[in-house]
Amino acid sequence: MTADETGGAPTIPGTRPTYSGPGRLLVAAYGLLALAATARGVFQLTDHGDEAPLAYALSVLSGLIYGVATFALATDRRRLAWVAVLVEMAGVLVVGAASLAWPQDFPDETVWSHFGQGYGWVPLVLPFLGVWWLVRTRARDGQ
């Protein structure tokens, strides 16, 4: 099956679509995290948003970025995928470190606090898998 038949964005010649093979599992994992983080963050903000506004806003933000990554990887939009995956990596590393350094500013869990411990470290592992996959599917002679 070619990329045209699947209805994704036009595939860059010489590259492997990011949604093919192992990419399908990666997209599924990103989609799941997007759903989980967004739903949780929206609930927390609407139900008891004043308790930990920073943590809850970060949950929603991370959910939206996971959503962008899911969309980009599922439709072979490489540039967008790179941005989203790198923002996630920075997010989980910065927020993870900040939640350990200043625990009083994080009275409730976010997806990224403690480096994603509450989500089985998946938020920490995914961006690295994403970078690996984007490099792996890149054309050999560059693009």
Binding site: Y19, R24, L25, V27, A28, A29, L35, R40, F43, D47
Partner: protein, 122 residues
């Protein structure tokens, strides 16, 4: 609250884990998702819809004191998992479609466990 929910929780969680195990076996054997697996997945989805209706009925009758948004957030998310995973898995029939179904089955089972917690703690 009611006697049926715990039984349903066990059945749904077991079905999710069984579907995941079946898909995992297919991953190991390098096989794509089979149509029969999708049919069993659809059967599980029917169970999930029945559960949502049952829980909704109990709540409407004022039995069960759960945080509505939290409970329905989980219910709706759980209902979305299998159809989305099925569509995504069948678009490319490789072993990775089985891996997607594996994750979906585990997720449904996990969300069922969380639903039970939310209901029981209320």
């Amino acid at each position: 609250v009611a006697g049926v929910i715990p039984l349903l929780v066990v059945v749904v969680a077991a079905a999710g884990l069984a579907l995941a195990g079946w898909a995992g076996w297919f991953v190991a054997r390098d096989r794509a998702v089979a149509t029969i697996q999708l049919k069993w997945g659809a059967a599980l989805e029917v169970l999930l819809v029945l559960q949502a209706l049952w829980a909704g009925g109990l709540l409407v009758m004022g039995r069960g004191d759960v945080s509505g948004w939290l409970f329905w957030g989980y219910v709706v998310t759980q209902l979305l998992i299998l159809p989305l995973a099925g569509l995504w898995a069948t678009a490319e029939r490789t072993r990775w479609s089985s891996a997607v179904l594996l994750v979906a089955g585990l997720t449904v089972a996990f969300l069922e466990f969380r639903l039970w917690q939310i209901w029981a703690w209320a």
